[in-house]
Symmetry: C2
Subunit: 489 residues, 2 copies
């Protein structure tokens, strides 16, 4: 065979010699040849040595060579015919590389990088991290038993995709549960199982908006809702929150939005409760202007004072409300099961789109959760947690009163698993949170929840869900000290 090729090949093999250790020889030979071809060292139409010749030259079996040639042919790097094996004509990556990666980074991505200060969330068990339930108190053994039963019941079919909109059992159980506990009026068909509340939000943002539409979001408010909106071309309009929840004026409604995101039963993060007057006004305006209300019934299960206030969804018949919830806190975050309750009017138009988008899945988990709820284990767990969080909250309040030596006001806390501590702006929350992270504490700065933070949007959101009582005193003392250190004089 022509010396040039021998040279090239031996070069390729000197660069990276074949070795019995580095996997199948034929694969190694194939890779060398491929690289020489792609690198342009073996020019198009070059005839490769016959398999016997090359096998001898490399002292490998002839089958090794033919196998390598076959794969190269299958991939289109070479053509084989009666005359032998020739290198195919390829555009050389050498050119390609020179062109460089001039691909732009699009706006959606950059919009998402601008949702307010990002503070390291800390690991799941980080102290004082909001929205994490008491992981160690979850009845994992009972849950695993429920899963085992579901696996036995579901059989191998449970390994399949399952129903795109969710397993019928779970949809029915959730509809019943919401009717009884939250006054939500819905049939099982209106319930769609989602990957936690986040996918429910994403579906609302993606399915209910047209280009140029606006969405009102609470400011300060839940970052996840903004993130979901930011991936669409909907224009986000932040609306302020006061002690009675989301504030919207008649003036506002002169430019009606397509979507309004609201957390009525426990505004996140301020903990305000949307008054019934405002709820009814929202519903009325939404109906007048063809807007959709997204009711995130956040933390409603953990009301610490009185009975839970019933949901907006059930307040008025035909209310244009998409009601969503998650089991991340009532069960555990890693489960990633949530739900979206569609208004009757959207059942028909959204069924097909949802079936195109959703894949179901987690069939055993869905069956197990349904059984867990029907058997009363879920309610018992909620009861235990409600008591636990109530205790933890009052202890955290005490600790703050006693040991947080900085002017502050504690807000919210009539439900859920976090308290919001407002601070004068001379105690910059971002600085305090960043410093706290170094001690394994994960309070979240209040200003991080606001798109346009005002001076009063300064403070710390403290989660007590997964942090045991005995640690409150040392942690609060630490935060107090860090706050004083961070004070701007």
């Amino acid at each position: 065979m022509p010396p040039a090729i021998l040279a090239t090949l031996s070069q390729a093999l000197i660069d990276a010699p074949l070795s019995r250790e580095a996997g199948p020889l034929q694969r190694q030979l194939h890779d060398r040849l491929k690289r020489s071809i792609l690198g342009g060292h073996l020019a198009p139409a070059t005839r490769l040595p016959g398999s016997r010749v090359l096998a001898e030259a490399l002292s490998v079996s002839r089958n090794t060579v033919t196998a390598a040639y076959d794969l190269l042919a299958a991939e289109g790097y070479v053509h084989s015919d009666r005359q032998g094996t020739r290198v195919a004509a390829l555009s050389r990556p050498a050119h390609v590389r020179r062109a460089g990666a001039k691909a732009a980074v699009p706006v959606t991505a950059s919009r998402l990088s601008d949702l307010g200060t990002m503070v390291p969330r800390g690991h799941a068990a980080a102290a004082l991290r909001p929205c994490v339930p008491a992981l160690a108190q979850f009845p994992l053994a009972d849950w695993r038993r429920a899963l085992d039963r579901a696996v036995r019941r579901g059989g191998p079919a449970g390994l399949g995709y399952g129903e795109p909109l969710g397993q019928p059992d779970l949809r029915a159980t959730i509809a019943r549960h919401l009717g009884l506990s939250r006054g939500v009026r819905c049939t099982p068909d209106q319930v769609v199982i989602t990957e936690g509340a986040q996918e429910a939000l994403s579906l609302c943002a993606r399915l209910l908006t047209n280009p140029g539409d606006t969405a009102w979001i609470e400011d300060p408010g839940y970052r996840g809702a903004k993130a979901a909106m930011q991936t669409t071309d909907v224009r986000i309009v932040p609306k302020r929150v006061d002690a009675e929840g989301l504030v919207t004026t008649a003036e506002d409604w002169k430019h009606p939005p397509r979507l309004v995101y609201v957390t009525p039963s426990h505004q996140y993060p301020t903990g305000a409760v949307l008054t019934v007057q405002r709820r009814l006004a929202l519903i009325e305006q939404a109906m007048r202007h063809g807007a959709w209300l997204i009711e995130d019934d956040y933390d409603s299960e953990f009301r610490h004072a009185g009975e839970p206030i019933t949901a907006m969804q059930g307040l008025v018949e035909q209310a244009p409300v998409l009601y969503l919830g998650t089991f991340s806190k009532t069960m555990f975050p890693s489960l990633r099961l949530g739900f979206l309750v569609l208004p009757e009017g959207l059942l028909a138009p959204l069924e097909r789109p949802l079936k195109e988008l959703l894949r179901g899945g987690h069939v055993y988990e869905q069956l197990a959760l349904s059984a867990f709820m029907e058997s009363g284990e879920f309610a018992r767990h909620l009861g235990r947690m409600r008591r636990l969080y109530r205790d933890r909250q009052s202890c955290l309040r005490d600790a703050l009163t006693r040991h947080f030596r900085v002017p502050h006001s504690v807000e919210g806390g009539h439900s859920g698993m976090h308290l919001t501590v407002r601070l004068p702006s001379r105690f910059p929350d971002v600085a305090i949170a960043a410093a706290a992270a170094r001690y394994g504490l994960s309070p979240v700065p209040l200003s991080g929840f606001a798109l346009h933070p005002l001076p009063q949007d300064n403070g710390l959101v403290l989660g007590y869900g997964n942090t045991p009582i005995e640690l409150y005193e040392p942690y609060v003392k630490r935060l107090s000290q860090l706050a004083r250190t961070a004070e701007v004089r």
Copy 2:
């Protein structure tokens, strides 16, 4: 108390009397009063009877009444002061209801309803349904053991959110696995764990496009990819597929897209393999024009002839390729774990957006999967399945040759778990599939994969992954008969 109110109340209670069976009396009383207020039967400023009076009138305990009043006050339906309890001023839902639900259904939803003929997917175990692996052959017991170990290893912390971009163990394992088996060049940081391939697609569509951008998709092609694009405002441009895969001309590139979705190793549904010439040309053009290639390395693990062709992602350094895959077929669909391999250039710009959007979760499943892959159980399972699918395919081919008495050509099948049977257009595939569904068979009509079906886009996609060999003869005979019945003369 004024007779009017007594009348109203008793009316409310005649309509729906309190009953010990229907849950707590206070909640029932609260609901009646609430309905009367919302219904306008109790006008604003109306004074409600004192708790003792009403308690006697209803023969319930006084606590029951006070509890109901308290909740009504908490919700803002009534005000209580020294003068007693008065109905608050509310905008009446009567008005609201009249306004009606004039909320429009947006374009994205309607676009999704227009992705081609929808045919009932049938349940997970439906015969001949494409893309469903052999569920009964999955080593469920081994997997459950791996999960148990993961639960013990992860402890309660594993119930938490976990890492938004995926558990480090699994990301590292996948990077290693892809390097060895697919020639993908990546570090663990480039690997993002997703909810199956569908979320990976959705992330690409949402994070990499600007309004007005176009995305090229294979036609016929995977519906899920179109669905993911349709929820953004990107304009979908279908590109035809031939025996060598996606066809794109220099002319096409005069209007370059932002995204190109391609299934190079096994075009879905035609089964064509994208030649290396076309792969290199795509990469070169994408680099020149700042486009992103989305490589869905669909079914590459189940190659039935020769060694798997290595991925586009590793073909050229710095290739602008987003490589995605799923464990739905190598493990099982209900697991809903997939991954997205980002190009190095997108790591920095996308890290923050991804952290805002993703919530992690399924921590035990991720740990278990990583261990399953490291222990070699995954590879053993793949080996078993590769042999199984090879047998099933050849038996299905035989059955088609022998018993499918309709002019047809069988396409693809060098890998994966489906065969595409092209039919003359006088045998309308949608009609045949619909008829087959009545016999519990779920072949998918080829035309359903095309946005703009041509006459040749007519046929049946037959999945053999989850359908045992002994059933091929009767099923193919059935399909053959249904096809002849459906023939248009």
